[in-house]
């Protein structure tokens, strides 16, 4: 077990009384509650944590939060393994297991590090310039490149955890629980508004967690505690720690990722691991703080080079000593506090190097008192050491800030270099919301431009870098947001007194690339291994747009999305192009702010809950009776009912034969049904269907075809006239919803003068279709009061009455060309009806059949299937149904039928095909050609749309769309598939005559 050699003896927000055991790369270590994995590693003296993406350089931690580019580990094991996790964001728990990534064979000895030696060959975009020879070898090069890249390894087993999603609505969403956010949430909450406060961290407090600023004469964290307690006690406030606001979408819709159980080894039973919140906020306050930037200097990626603010946080919050002897290098005031806090914690501060000649007066005395040397107008010009910082050189900056006076300068031994290159307000979310960001020359950063949605920015995110301003402006933002959300009551809160006056700010001095050691790489994007030289090369090569530079060099494209690097990159590119920064602009911010787990985005609607399985009232019976199911839309329809020992063909043959010789029964519940009523119902149908409806008698049924305005068939079905102003329409199973939408859109928007109501009744009815010669006696038995003779109950009519004692509506229609009855009963009685039919049908060996037999039966008689014979390019004429087209009226799509192309006679037209080999079932989709030679390339004359074996015909047959097919009955053509061409005869698309049978 390693010892916590770098744990400070006192201080910090950790619980020293409890020990947490964990492993990193197999080595056992310990930390305390309150630690992150990062702080615990530092406490254990681990500096080398990962290898970089391209050059496999040794890397240590740079930051303490979500902006960490280097400290990525693979966390957990098995199905819970997760690559690319930032150690800085992992709360330590007992039993934690993590390993380093992107190294082989080990972190210390990584063969990939040879890339660093070869790096002169690998400048930005090198791969665009090479690997082109010999011509076809790229895939081989690619395989090697792919293995080298890629950072972590994904899990190999299924994820055992649950992810929830939840919608939320609020008046004010406050993002960020630092001083500004807490003040805002408190004020908004006091108005009675519905408030949500979300913060990434486990604890509220933001920057106050890491520094020791006082509020009202007490430690800042006391104030934070009081705030959090007040908010927790307000019914109208929802506090969400460990919750990252990830995306800002249209109309103030935001997503938040709550890490519900990530701070423990595994979620409790039924507890989600993470929850994705989808918030709709009337108003948003962004109090997301500011991110510190590193300085770009040679070898600034050595383990031991860290952000000054992060170091301060590790010392104060985690009681960790990130190094024993530090040099602090800054271009702004904020790092002075770090230097002081380091000294306070007993860490030797070799010097504070400020590249500004003018130092902030307010701080100088304090540093003097602490005995810290300030080296002004100086830079850290070189970093020595390979796997860790061993020393730095401090040189004197020339007047223009472009070079050194007198070489690399003085050598200072140290093992920690703290960098502060200024602060970047965290405006990712604001930018996602559509607002522009405006460059502020004085502060050296982008500030919010005019809001495009109902959002305001407060605190450091708005460029307010003093605590007093953050508190005051945060409170004001919260109050105004609540007011704008309609909560007029003014929140009241005390003004706060800061401990002493915060020293006035001396402006930062942006020098984007620190002059110094030319031999070393000066990193800008640490994760993607992009150096200042790469950026300059891109600019030189003509990649002048910052978006081009990004893509050419990959800067800002890693898992941190360049949180610490984008502004430095921008500064360097602007300098290389010699244009002002605003003219270069920043790259586009996109969601998510921080990577979001796929599992959380997927939520619970995966696996068995991916999509509903729609069930008919008889579904259970079908399951119990061994049905094989077919997916049709969301329904599971019986495909066929195999008996023991039967394969699909045998079962279908049996079902088909039964339908033609005795009686067969099918569950037709899934067909769409639409109730159409109103004085103009018949006129409405006249406009919707291609054929006429006004003359249809009450009690009659008629087949109709619907076209889109492009003249192509999109649905069909039988519609019955239930009364003078009342129709019952049926649609295809898959088309039901679309047809209803189609009807509604026309009657609501185009023809509001028509009195008609369309109402879905699909769910209301269960439908059992019985067909075959014995259908009549079977029904007669169950409907003794009924005269079922062809005269009393003719084909294409319907009647109401009792079937098996159930109120029923029976349609004498069918889709099989057989004598058929479609019996409709209220869905609750579907099962009773089915049982009655099965029982009474036993004597006829009643045979349940599925969709496949239904397809065979209908094809035998040449009935089309929408979606099989049609594909959105087929007109009624093409199907041979031209005679249905009414010449007397207009209807949707009619005009398209007389377009030049619609009138061509060589269009694909529906025909029958009889393959010469009567046992050969032509594959559906096979292509029709004129000759016996299928070799490509050649143009097809059409394709097979449906193909079956018919036990009735004793042979196979098919339907096809054939160019000019209506005139080609009797011709021989060839059907091409899989490199062969087989002969077939073209026939009319009808193989059995339904006429007599059905009637």
């Amino acid at each position: 077990m390693r010892a916590q050699i770098n744990r400070l003896a006192q201080g910090g927000r950790i619980d020293r009384s409890e020990h947490l055991n964990f492993r990193f790369d197999g080595e056992a270590m310990r930390g305390h509650p309150g630690d992150t994995l990062a702080s615990a590693l530092l406490a254990n003296g681990v500096q080398l944590i990962g290898r970089s993406f391209k050059y496999h350089r040794p890397r240590g931690l740079m930051a303490a939060g979500g902006e960490e580019p280097n400290g990525l580990v693979r966390l957990r094991t098995g199905g819970r393994a997760e690559p690319n996790v930032r150690a800085t964001e992992v709360a330590l728990y007992d039993g934690l297991v993590a390993e380093s990534q992107n190294r082989w064979p080990s972190l210390r000895f990584d063969l990939g590090a040879v890339n660093d030696r070869l790096s002169p060959l690998f400048p930005a975009g090198f791969y665009y310039k090479t690997f082109m020879w010999p011509g076809n070898m790229w895939p081989a090069y690619e395989a090697v490149i792919r293995r080298m890249a890629g950072l972590g390894r994904a899990a190999t087993a299924a994820d055992p955890d649950r992810y929830e999603k939840q919608y939320a609505h609020c008046d004010v969403l406050v993002v960020g629980g630092g001083p500004a956010g807490l003040a805002a949430a408190r004020m908004a909450g006091r108005t009675g508004a519905r408030v949500i406060l979300a913060d990434e961290g486990a604890e509220f407090g933001g920057a106050l967690l890491g520094n020791d600023q006082e509020i009202d004469g007490a430690p800042g964290m006391d104030w934070v505690g009081a705030m959090a307690a007040e908010l927790a006690n307000s019914d109208n406030v929802r506090l969400l720690p460990r919750t990252t606001v990830a995306g800002y979408y249209d109309h103030n819709a935001l997503t938040m990722l709550e890490r519900v159980a990530d701070h423990g080894p595994a979620p409790e039973p039924h507890q989600p691991r993470q929850r994705l919140w989808q918030v709709r906020a009337k108003q948003v306050v962004l109090a997301t703080g500011a991110l510190e930037r590193p300085l770009v200097l040679a070898n600034n990626d050595r383990p031991g080079v860290m952000l000054a603010g992060a170091v301060r946080g590790y010392v104060n919050r985690h009681a960790v000593r990130p190094g024993r002897r530090a040099v602090v290098f800054t271009n702004n005031d904020s790092a002075y506090g770090t230097a002081l806090d380091l000294a306070k914690a007993g860490i030797d501060v070799a010097a504070l190097v400020d590249l500004r000649a003018e130092t902030p007066l307010g701080w100088v005395a304090a540093l003097d008192d602490a005995g810290i040397e300030i080296m002004a107008g100086r830079v850290v010009s070189a970093v020595e050491g390979r796997r860790a910082v061993e020393a730095v050189r401090v040189g004197k900056l020339n007047d223009t800030g472009t070079g050194l006076v007198g070489g690399l300068g003085r050598r200072l031994d140290c093992d920690l270099l703290c960098l502060s290159g200024g602060w970047t307000p965290s405006l990712h979310l604001l930018s996602q919301s559509g607002a522009k960001l405006l460059w502020d020359e004085g502060l050296g950063c982008f500030l919010p431009g005019r809001a495009q949605q109902a959002v305001r920015v407060a605190g450091a995110a708005n460029g307010a870098f003093s605590l007093g301003d953050c508190l005051a402006l945060g409170a004001e933002a919260g109050n105004r947001a609540a007011n704008d959300a309609g909560h007029r009551r003014r929140g009241r809160g005390p003004r706060h007194a800061m401990a002493g006056e915060e020293p006035a700010l001396t402006p930062p001095l942006p020098i984007w690339k620190i002059p110094g050691d030319d031999a070393g790489k000066a990193f800008v994007d640490f994760q993607s291994d992009v150096t200042a030289a790469d950026l300059e090369l891109a600019a030189r090569e003509g990649y002048r747009s910052i978006e081009h530079v990004k893509r050419y060099t990959t800067t800002g494209m890693g898992t941190d999305q360049g949180r610490t690097s984008n502004i430095n990159a921008l500064g360097i590119v602007a300098r290389a192009l010699d244009v002002p920064i605003p003219q270069v602009g920043h790259t586009m911010f996109r969601p998510p702010f921080s990577p979001v787990t796929f599992g959380a985005l997927a939520g619970r609607r995966i696996g068995p809950l991916l999509d509903p399985v729609r069930r008919t009232p008889m579904h259970g019976w079908h399951q119990d009776n061994g049905a094989a199911f077919e997916l049709v839309g969301q329904w599971h329809r019986p495909y066929y009912f195999p008996r023991a020992g039967e394969d699909k063909d045998q079962a279908v043959d049996r079902e088909v034969l039964a339908a033609r010789t005795s009686v067969a029964i099918m569950d037709a519940t899934t067909l769409g049904k639409i109730d159409i009523q109103g004085a103009d119902a018949a006129e409405f149908l006249n406009r919707i269907y291609i054929n006429g409806w006004k003359g249809l008698a009450v009690s009659g049924c008629r087949y109709g075809l619907m076209l889109g305005e492009d003249g192509m068939v999109f649905d069909d079905g039988v519609t019955a006239r239930l009364g003078p102003e009342h129709f019952h329409m049926t649609t295809t199973t898959g088309g039901a919803a679309h047809v209803l939408d189609w009807l509604e859109s026309w009657c609501q928007t185009e023809w509001p003068e028509l009195q008609v109501y369309c109402t879905s009744s699909t769910e209301q009815w269960a439908v059992a279709a019985i067909c075959g010669p014995m259908a009549r006696p079977l029904l007669a038995e169950l409907a003794p009061d009924w005269d079922l003779s062809a005269e009393a109950f003719p084909h294409m009519t319907w009647q109401d009455g009792a079937v098996a004692g159930l109120a029923a509506r029976v349609f004498r229609i069918g889709f099989t060309g057989e004598l058929s009855f479609e019996i409709n009963v209220p869905a609750g009685h579907g099962m009773a009806l089915w049982n009655a039919l099965m029982t009474a049908g036993q004597k006829y060996a009643i045979t349940p059949f599925g969709t496949e037999a239904m397809h065979v039966l209908r094809a035998e008689v040449g009935f089309i299937m929408v979606g099989q014979e049609t594909d959105g390019t087929v007109s009624p004429q093409d199907l041979g149904l031209g005679r249905m087209v009414s010449g007397k009226k207009d209807f949707l799509g009619k005009r398209s039928l007389s377009r030049a192309h619609s009138l061509r006679t060589d269009r694909p037209q529906l025909v029958g095909l009889l393959p010469q080999d009567t046992n050969l079932r032509l594959p559906e989709g096979a292509q029709l050609i004129g000759g016996a030679d299928p070799s490509p390339p050649q143009l097809a004359m059409g394709h097979v749309t449906s193909s079956y074996r018919s036990p009735n015909l004793g042979r196979t047959f098919a339907l096809a769309l054939l160019h000019g097919g209506h005139e080609r009955h009797g011709e021989t053509i060839y059907v091409a598939f899989d490199g062969q061409a087989v002969r077939a005869e073209v026939t009319a698309p009808r193989f059995l005559d339904p006429g007599a049978r059905a009637k």
């Binding site: 665009y128 890629g150 899990a155 985005l601 192309h901 050609i929």
Partner: protein, 416 residues
């Protein structure tokens, strides 16, 4: 201009890469050109390249309102294939695929065309039928296409969920082996560099704001950098085609919608091929850097905002987690959208217009990246000869009046 090769790379390494020339110039526009291409996406740049290289027109300019390749060329999921249903489509996409196969060498710029195969999954008998029809049509058209069974799929992509008991089990799929992915940005840059070498002016940050039309003929245009004259104009503006058409008083059969995509964080290789599913709507490949590149759907409304809504992403991620269960603990790193020009028959438009000298190349919608070289070449031919190449003749605007549409919904879907 320097040739790109391992040797020049090594030579330049010695000089610390100080001497690389610009890949393309950034000239100021001249007052007039023989021809102007509006739109510096892959298609526009390829058009200019082929106009100069194959049709000898060198006095031409490409005007781009932003940065070249910043439109859909820079935001697509890079799937390249040619297995479309109609022979007209197969011809145009396969023409492109053949150009892809030698493109890096032709341009002396590695566009990383990676023919790692593209698989379209079928989840039910209906889809199987549709896909089989396409296979047979492709076989006849001379486009490679084969059916792969679940067993073969397990080998082609071990992380694919082939459990037969899931909600939409995979019953098989089509495989086009010659298909694959390419590096989208490199395509724009490679063509730009190639065109520039031929003397083409590539002018960025130059937005066309109006046309100068006299007596039914195009004379020139107004731009954010001043007026420019040209008797021949090819508009290749993808999602913005209708906007440019409106400047010429024309309407097009297009709707512009955001189409979304996203990438995961980079991981070590898990995905050796490209997989697409229409049923559960997702398509995925893995880039050479290691991110999973995932295509989502379109938003249902017209937009020019280049950003999409969350539900579309959620739908796709559900599908991805279902198809590839090991992705559950991976993370979305970035999502974005492009504005795609959706055409009613899901086929492109390469056409003259009622205005003499004004041509449009648009309507590629959700799937035109794969066509880039072919589209550029055919459009160059059309502009130079002032009449369509036989391959693009069926894709004229006229078809929306005659009814001779080239319906590719099945093969194109919102997929690639």
């Amino acid at each position: 201009m320097a040739n790109y090769s391992i040797f020049t790379l090594a030579r330049n390494a010695l000089r610390r890469h100080r001497d690389w020339p610009q890949a393309w110039r950034s000239p100021k526009p001249r007052p007039s050109y023989d021809a102007i291409i509006v739109g510096g996406g892959g298609h526009g740049l390829a058009t200019a390249y082929y106009l100069a290289k194959r049709y000898g027109m060198h006095d031409i300019a490409v005007l781009e309102k932003g940065w070249i390749g910043g439109g859909n060329t820079g935001r697509n999921t890079t799937i390249v294939r040619s297995n479309y249903l109609n022979p007209e489509s197969a011809a145009i996409y396969d023409h492109a695929l053949k150009l892809w196969e030698g493109l890096s060498q032709e341009l002396n710029f590695n566009v990383m065309f990676s023919p790692r195969g593209v698989i379209n999954l079928a989840h039910d008998p209906g889809e199987e039928r549709e896909l089989m029809r396409r296979i047979y049509a492709n076989q006849l058209a001379g486009v490679d296409a084969e059916w792969v069974t679940p067993t073969q799929l397990a080998e082609l992509c071990p992380i694919l969920n082939l459990d037969p008991n899931i909600r939409y089990p995979v019953v098989g799929g089509t495989l086009q082996r010659r298909a694959g992915v390419a590096r989208h940005d490199a395509v724009a840059w490679g063509y730009a560099r190639g065109a520039d070498k031929q003397g083409v002016d590539i002018i960025q940050n130059c937005e066309v704001t109006g046309f100068d039309i006299q007596a039914g003929r195009i004379e020139g245009m107004r731009t954010s950098l001043g007026d420019i004259r040209a008797p021949l104009v090819g508009v290749v503006a993808a999602g913005h085609s209708s906007v440019l058409a409106a400047m010429a008083g024309i309407r097009l059969p297009l709707e512009s919608h955001p189409l979304q995509a996203l990438v995961s964080e980079p991981i070590k290789p898990v995905m050796p091929t490209v997989i697409m599913s229409n049923k559960v709507h997702a398509y995925m490949s893995q880039s050479d850097k290691g991110e999973l590149v995932i295509g989502a759907g379109i938003d249902g409304y017209t937009s020019y905002a280049q950003r999409g809504s969350l539900p579309v992403i959620e739908e796709t991620i559900r599908a991805v987690v279902e198809l590839f269960p090991i992705t559950s603990r991976l993370k979305m790193m970035r999502q974005w959208a492009g504005i795609v020009d959706i055409c009613p028959d899901a086929s492109p438009i390469i056409s003259d217009t009622p205005i003499g000298g004004l041509y449009f190349n648009c309507g590629w919608g959700t799937g035109g990246f794969k066509a880039t070289p072919g589209s550029g070449h055919l459009f160059a031919h059309t502009l130079a000869k002032r009449e369509p190449h036989p391959i693009n003749a069926p894709f004229a605007l006229e078809r929306f009046y005659s009814g001779a549409l080239v319906a590719e919904h099945g093969a194109a879907a919102v997929a690639h």
